[in-house]
């Protein structure tokens, strides 16, 4: 059985805003969230001094202490995005949430690094358990975001933890879609998150993947650009409410879009080097799931992190599936790489742009790298485009690939 799945709520906490109006203004105006940050100024080894933090984030004060205590920043961001999405769907406080028919599919690259630091300092370094409380693990555990969302909103359905680094958010949405389509759940919260921390930035700095244009945060990262020099690590959380179509209709829910396809696979080749064959295959999986021909896709939201190998592999894979005609942009020039959040934030923003009939350009893309596949890169100005079908792609360390497909709902 495959049921139709629609998006009835969506929200995000991002480096360029925490509501659609603010975010869309930044996307249109070419304002990014990239800035110099001082979180690791005391560590001289870092090559990058840039990050893309969420500004002015305050967890809601109405959450009870016992609900908050197991949340590190990554879970606070997640739960806040989930609350906004539920509110948007008109489901906040609804008894439906505790019916067992609502679950959550959510992930992050890791649990909250500061709580890991407590274990590292006390146990690894100090060889003691003294000073380690009960909540550190609850903030570290791989399903901390999904579990905290379920605990906060008293969900009694499935918990799916999609902790696959940069595809955490897109897999969160993809598996949520499958839960609803298969009939296992009627409503799922799907998304992902990550928090900006020196540990996470170090991962990419060690691999020489970070942008080091430290004195010009206003011109980096530059996805697909010949002069790109790497990614900028960001943070945030995004969440979609995915609901069975008739269920949504019965309660008179506003429907943003229909989710029509999901593909995920693995390269099975290399932990960090992307494989264009695996990427190409995942785009085709999503198209097959939606029973679509490539020519029916009107816009592709690319992963496009601004790393040398990633951009080339992705754009060539995309070209092999679509040819040169499909309009494409990456939002990472605006957002930086929000890691576990990116799939969810980019899906949210892609659906926002779909509704309004325009698509943002890849910020800072001026001259496409000749090694990148020849595609219709949206550059400079937003593109007015009444699209029906949009695709959002993400790729992660471990050779994980995802592709989401949505259709305008009429």
């Amino acid at each position: 059985m495959s049921r139709r799945v629609v998006v009835t709520g969506m929200a995000g906490i991002s480096p360029i805003g925490q509501d659609w109006k603010t975010v869309s203004d930044c996307l249109r105006a070419g304002r990014s969230g990239i800035r110099r940050v001082d979180l690791w100024d005391d560590v001289p080894d870092f090559s990058t001094r840039l990050g893309s933090p969420v500004q002015d984030f305050q967890p809601p004060e109405h959450w009870p202490r016992k609900k908050r205590r197991a949340m590190g920043r990554v879970s606070l961001l997640s739960a806040s995005a989930a609350e906004k999405a539920l509110d948007d769907a008109g489901l906040l406080g609804d008894p439906l949430l505790s019916s067992g028919r609502v679950g959550v599919s959510f992930g992050s690259s890791s649990g909250s690094p500061p709580a890991m630091g407590v274990y590292a300092e006390k146990l690894f370094q100090g060889r003691t358990l003294r000073g380690i409380g009960a909540n550190e693990y609850l903030q570290i555990m791989s399903h901390t975001c999904a579990a905290n969302i379920a605990n906060l909103f008293e969900l009694r359905g499935r918990i799916v933890s999609t902790c696959t680094a940069c595809t955490s958010g897109s897999q969160g949405i993809g598996f949520a879609y499958e839960m609803v389509a298969s009939g296992h759940q009627d409503v799922m919260l799907g998304g992902g998150a990550d928090e900006l921390h020196p540990m996470v930035v170090a991962v990419f700095d060690i691999l020489f993947s970070t942008s080091t244009r430290n004195d010009e945060p206003e011109s980096t990262p530059r996805p697909f650009d010949a002069d790109r020099d790497g990614l900028v690590v960001g943070e945030g959380a995004g969440c979609l409410v995915l609901e069975e179509l008739e269920h949504a209709r019965r309660r008179g829910a506003h429907i943003y879009a229909e989710m029509i396809g999901f593909g995920t696979n693995s390269d099975g080749q290399h932990m960090t080097n992307p494989d264009p064959a695996g990427m190409q295959a995942v785009l085709r999986l999503a198209l097959a799931d939606a029973r679509l021909d490539p020519s029916e896709v009107d816009y592709v939201n690319a992963h496009g992190t601004a790393t040398e190998v990633g951009d080339v592999a992705e754009s060539q894979a995309t070209h092999r599936v679509f040819g040169g005609g499909v309009p494409l942009s990456s939002l990472k020039g605006h957002l930086g790489h929000t890691l576990g959040a990116c799939g969810a934030l980019e899906a949210w923003m892609t659906l926002g742009m779909l509704r309004e009939g325009w698509f943002a350009p890849t910020l800072h893309l001026e001259t496409v790298d000749a090694r990148c596949g020849p595609l219709d890169y949206i550059m400079g100005e937003p593109r007015e485009l009444r699209a029906d079908v949009v695709m959002s792609n993400n790729f992660a360390f471990g050779g994980v690939n995802t592709s989401l497909l949505f259709r305008r709902f009429v």
């Binding site: 003294r130 000073g131 409380g133 909540n135």
Partner: protein
């Protein structure tokens, strides 16, 4: 080296931790306050309270110690007896 502290000082330590860690107020705190029934603490909070008290006093709390403690008075008595 053992700390020396009056019962008033111990009460102050405990109440400072309760206010800082568990968002309680002076109005809610008294020697007779029951940690679970009056202050709404649970098993996770009991662990975290003991961790903070261990840091403050240098004492160690065993599982049976935690089970014997019901009220703020019990906490003060426990610490007072072991620091004496």
């Amino acid at each position: 080296m053992k700390l020396k502290a009056s019962r008033e000082t111990i009460y102050q330590w405990v109440s400072d931790i309760l206010k800082r860690e568990f968002e309680l107020t002076d109005a809610e705190l008294s020697l007779s306050a029951h940690l679970i029934d009056d202050l709404d603490l649970d098993s996770i909070d009991a662990i975290d309270l003991s961790v903070r008290l261990e840091e403050k006093t240098g004492l160690s709390f065993k599982e049976e110690d935690l089970k014997s403690i019901r009220t703020l008075q019990d906490v003060v008595d426990f610490i007072d007896a072991r620091l004496a």
